[in-house]
């Protein structure tokens, strides 16, 4: 054969491999509203940027007549490309080939591209669509998962890892996404669980649908396993592209600088959002949008623990991570879920050189037996731990209430915030005036002729003295009490002046956070 023949032989081989599981399997995939693995990569990455590797890899299984089967690419596509101009490594499991099941060579393709991503220091994107372990390959399939989990852990905090769940992801397979930074799910398409509905039914007699057990909505709302919810694969891809613009390629870089833009001040009037009555709610996202460039805010885990808002925005073109109590939901209290949500995000920002801006307005921790028994002590401690260990610039703004343990936890000076600002509406106190007055003046109230009147007087007295930012400012716990309209200007300055922040922590192998 000459070059011409050999080239046409190559083309023929490629055509054969590119067909994936064949027309019938592809038709089935389409029938449930799913794109094929290749279509997904092409839709996500920049046009013509995808370069595929290991197209000719074949499985190595021998038992159960597997040696007679040809599985194109062994059910997974791997390669490199660019995402909104950023270099990335990517893999996508191909459900049309043996249900995307994970065998040894399938896993080897994935771990090879993972090693690549870690070495080249570029983000890793994994598109999951797999029936699970390839049972015919037995323990080799388990070994494959283990090799993937190990690499997820090595890469954690070095390169961004994004998991996209576009099909089933069951059993051990769920632990790769769980180890990565951001998990994207799509309504009716994504399914994640350790033991599926059939096992649950046979063992427990409990009947539940896949959707109700581990559908997209469940993981966004209830479990907190997923970070971004989309109605369709297209919407999911545009969310990923948006996220990619906010985060750096690896932990030695800063996020991309964008042209500066002003907030949409007509829509978001910073001095008209919060109610002066500390008991009245408002949407803290409006405050965030009144501060960010173009009033843009990418919220993460929008549906989970909504009493805490986390996400990315830009100030003067630079990415910042926002952590904010949300008075609109559960009065913005800290609880098990919201602590967990905030703590992980703080660690993400710290690992990837993203400054943190904390907006505080909370009455404290959520009271309740369920919270105490669910370990709110242990989970709440995660917030203290992650703020304390974070060495990125930390700027705190107290909008209104900062009571009790909540004041300490929300990036106070005591946890080494670089700057703590407060609006004149701030109330920094050991607890709310009503609770404090009831304790401090218990005797006076109990022995008064008119206890209710006395209580009201004492509450007013306490409010007058302590429900303000000036007691804390007198001790230097607040650096400046600022006018709301000045906030953005002040934040810009604080960020600029903190750009070269350099602090070091005691030498250690690693800390022991209250996981």
């Amino acid at each position: 054969m000459g070059l011409k023949e050999k080239t046409s032989d190559l083309k023929m081989r490629m055509r054969h491999a590119l067909k994936g599981g064949g027309d019938k399997a592809i038709e089935k995939q389409k029938a449930v509203g799913k794109l094929t693995a290749r279509e997904r990569i092409l839709a996500l990455l920049d046009p013509k940027s995808f370069h595929e590797y290991d197209l000719f890899v074949e499985h190595a299984a021998k038992d159960f007549d597997m040696d007679k089967k040809y599985l194109p690419g062994d059910g997974v596509l791997t390669g490199t490309g660019t995402l909104s101009g950023h270099p990335v490594c990517i893999y996508a499991q191909d459900f049309t080939v043996a249900g995307g099941s994970l065998g040894w060579m399938h896993a080897k393709k994935i771990t090879k591209i993972m090693d690549h991503a870690l070495k080249l220091k570029v983000p890793l994107i994994g598109i999951n669509d797999s029936g699970g372990a390839r049972i015919q390959e037995g323990v080799n399939s388990l070994a494959g998962y283990g090799e993937i989990f190990f690499r997820n852990t090595l890469a954690s905090g070095v390169i961004p890892q994004i998991s996209v769940i576009l099909g089933p992801c069951a059993g051990g397979a769920v632990y790769s996404p769980a180890l990565t930074d951001f998990v994207f799910v799509v309504d009716k398409i994504s399914k994640m669980f350790i033991t599926g509905p059939e096992v649950i039914k046979s063992v427990l007699g409990e009947e539940i649908s896949m959707e109700a057990l581990g559908g997209a909505r469940v993981h966004c709302e209830t479990t907190g396993n997923a970070h971004f919810y989309a109605e369709s694969e297209e919407q999911c891809f545009s969310q990923i592209k948006k996220l990619a613009g906010y985060i750096p390629w690896n932990n030695t870089r800063k996020a991309e600088h964008f042209p500066k833009k002003s907030p949409k001040t007509r829509q978001y009037k910073i001095d008209q959002i919060i109610s002066e009555d500390p008991k009245e709610p408002y949407d803290v996202r409006d405050v965030i949008k009144s501060l960010t460039d173009d009033s843009d805010f990418l919220e993460i885990m929008e549906l989970f623990a909504q009493n805490m808002v986390i996400g990315f925005g830009r100030i003067n073109g630079e990415t910042v991570g926002f952590v904010a109590n949300q008075p609109l939901v559960l009065a913005g209290v800290l609880d098990v879920d919201s602590s967990d949500k905030a703590a992980r995000f703080i660690r993400y920002c710290d690992a990837f050189n993203i400054p943190l801006i904390t907006l505080v307005d909370l009455p404290g921790y959520l009271p309740g037996v369920d919270q105490e028994h669910a370990g709110v002590i242990r989970h709440g401690a995660k917030v203290l731990y992650s703020y304390s260990e974070a060495t990125v610039p930390k700027i705190t703004l107290i909008l209104r209430k900062a009571y009790g343990g909540g004041y300490i936890a929300m990036c106070s000076h005591h946890l080494r915030a670089d700057f703590v600002f407060a609006w004149p509406t701030a109330e920094i106190a050991v607890m709310g005036p009503e609770g404090a007055a009831n304790i401090i003046f218990r005797k006076e109230i109990a022995t008064a002729k008119n206890p209710d009147k006395m209580r009201q007087e004492k509450v007013e007295e306490y409010k007058e003295k302590f429900a303000n930012p000036y007691v804390a400012a007198a001790y230097g716990y607040i650096d400046a009490v600022i006018e709301p309209n000045e906030t953005r200007k002040i934040l810009i300055h604080a960020l600029e002046i903190s750009a070269e922040k350099d602090v070091s922590m005691p030498t250690k192998k690693h800390g022991i956070p209250p996981f």
Partner: protein, 99 residues
Amino acid sequence: MEILKVDDVAYTTLLTKKFRERKKYEPNDPKKVTAFIPGTIVGVSIKKGSKVNANDKLIALEAMKMVNQVATPMDGVVKKVYVKVGDIVAKNQLLLELE
């Protein structure tokens, strides 16, 4: 909007589904023996009126490929048995009551 009370202060706010559906605390009643793991009943060695001593193994509960023994926490007399061999029980389901 609803009300959430923290430290004697009533805040106007939205409540979450998870908060509304949170489990109410119920103190543990030693007279009520429940399943500590979901599974299938494979043996019942007592009936109504049986006298039992603390730590007697009363019910065999197969779960996670193991036969687990459900023991009584206290001395007493069986008031009622709620399960029979072959029943599938959920976690915390009432198995028997003592008096």
